[in-house]
């Protein structure tokens, strides 16, 4: 499973890439692999404010419906509208073209509660035994 360095991770398998007070959010390679073919992504409206770990949208694979959780509180600056037409980008490029939202981070301390790449990798090993 790909777990790029430099990103922060949630235990619910979202990632956030922080640049200054901005963060880009998506789901991890592991998450898309577990979901299987993604067929539907529902994202919030621009301008919505989110608390840390508040559900900001929904992702659906052929069989399953899952909530998406915002790794850090903030205001939604941009959403990836491309996913409406091409939800499969989440499978093909979860850390790139499959990104979901950009947020303005209101409380940088939220980031301290997230996992580093190595912590998330260890978490997957522990959680994913048997897969």
């Amino acid at each position: 499973m790909q777990v790029p360095e430099g990103l922060k991770y949630t235990r619910e398998h979202e990632w956030i890439k922080v640049e200054g007070d901005r963060g880009q959010v998506g789901i991890t390679h592991y998450a898309q692999d577990q979901l299987g073919d993604v067929v539907f992504v529902e994202l919030p409206k621009k301008g919505r404010s989110l608390r840390q770990m508040e559900p900001f949208g929904v992702i659906e694979s052929v069989k399953a419906v899952s909530d998406l959780y915002c790794p850090a509180g903030g205001e939604v600056l941009e959403v990836n509208g491309e996913l409406e037409r091409k939800p499969e980008l989440v499978n093909g490029d979860p850390y790139g073209a499959g990104w979901m939202i950009r947020v303005k981070i209101t409380n940088p301390k939220d980031l301290d509660k997230l996992l580093s790449a190595s912590e998330y990798s260890a978490y997957l090993k522990q959680a994913g035994g048997g897969h």
Binding site: V39, F40, V62
Partner: protein, 345 residues
């Protein structure tokens, strides 16, 4: 892997969409050994079968298969199944995995006459080879002339070194075969079918694509679309109810319902708005609840989101616009013609 009727079954091998497309385009291989088989042997086998199922098994020739319902007295489903006529005194039911014990108990409690009903599920493996290339692939492994087996017919014969029943049936809406054989021969056949199918692009197929394939073909799934709370007529399966054949369990209730008229029925729908209507989502019309989704998901072949639902008959007409509550929000859908997918012959 997921638990399914007491078995550990893969939801997918390589990916649901890819597996689905393999079956529609070339071929897919399913291990459906979890399905149950119950056989009837004895001079009164036909009479026993006739009393148990809604369809008319007396119309079957040896080598023919028929879809039927096993009913409670009130006309709801114990199970849906296929009836095989192996000989004048020998029939077999193929039943859903999750219902084997329940069916067998129901059958032994209601079987009459000089006949023995036996649950042979544990000594029967079942592989399904489905898709337009299925005949070409299977032909390499059997001396049986497959072109002589028509849709919903079967023939006993050798497949590799196994004594098998080759049945031209399936749960995908495609051409294909279901092959019954001894469990100790199943793994070898599985491997050979994949090997022979490789040049065609065959894929092993899991439960996920089995569900999307059968949904496009509007084949009912027990536990979703049919159960002990809905009658065979409400399930839009009136064509498997043959009241003229004589007495069977559920006949009186179904005749009464037929005379009184249905209040709800199973229909297909297609999403108009953005969203996927899934099992148990409510259907509303003018703010009133008028139905409930029983199966729903993306149709890989059509590229739309489809499903089945029980709906008040008033709104069951094709083209009727309704709304499905998805996470509390009404999303537009319309009643659609079924099957959603029909193969070209």
């Amino acid at each position: 892997m997921v638990p399914f009727g007491g078995w550990d079954m893969p939801v997918q091998y390589s990916g649901i969409l890819e597996e689905h497309r393999a079956v529609r385009g070339t071929a897919g291989l399913f291990d459906i050994s979890h399905m149950g088989e119950i056989e009837f042997r004895g001079p009164d086998a036909l009479a026993a079968v006739q009393r148990l199922v809604t369809n008319d098994a007396s119309r079957l020739s040896i080598g023919q298969v028929q879809y039927a319902a096993l009913c409670y007295e009130n006309g709801t489903f114990v199970d849906d199944l296929t009836v095989y006529k192996l000989a004048d005194d020998h029939y077999m039911f193929t039943v859903n995995a999750s219902n084997i014990e329940k069916d067998y108990q129901w059958i032994t409690a209601h079987v009459i006459g000089d006949v023995e009903a036996r649950n042979i599920s544990d000594e029967t493996a079942l592989l399904a080879l489905q898709g337009p290339k299925a005949p070409e692939i299977l032909r390499k492994l059997t001396p049986v002339d497959l072109s002589q087996i028509r849709y919903y017919w079967f023939q006993p014969g050798k497949v590799l070194d196994a004594d098998a029943l080759i049945s031209r049936t399936g749960y995908t809406g495609e051409d294909g075969f279901e092959i019954y054989l001894s469990p100790d021969k199943a793994e070898a056949l599985w491997n050979r079918l994949l090997e022979e199918g490789r040049p065609f692009g065959i894929l092993p197929v899991g439960l996920g694509a089995r569900d999307t394939l059968r949904l496009e073909a509007k084949m009912a799934l027990y536990g979703n679309d049919i159960d002990d709370a809905h009658t065979v007529l409400e399930a839009d399966l009136g064509w498997i109810v043959k009241s003229a054949k004589g007495e069977f369990i559920g006949r009186a209730a179904l005749e009464k319902l037929q005379a009184a008229g249905l209040t709800r029925k199973l229909v297909g729908f297609e999403m108009v708005g953005r969203g996927i209507g899934r099992a148990h989502y409510k259907i509303v019309k003018n703010g009133q609840e008028v139905g409930e989704v029983t199966s729903g998901g993306p149709s890989p072949t059509l590229g739309t989101n489809i499903g089945l639902a029980y709906i008040t008959v008033e709104y069951a007409t094709i083209g009727t616009e309704v709304e499905i509550l998805i996470r509390g929000e009404p999303v537009r859908a319309k009643i659609a013609p079924t099957p959603f997918y029909r193969r070209k012959r």
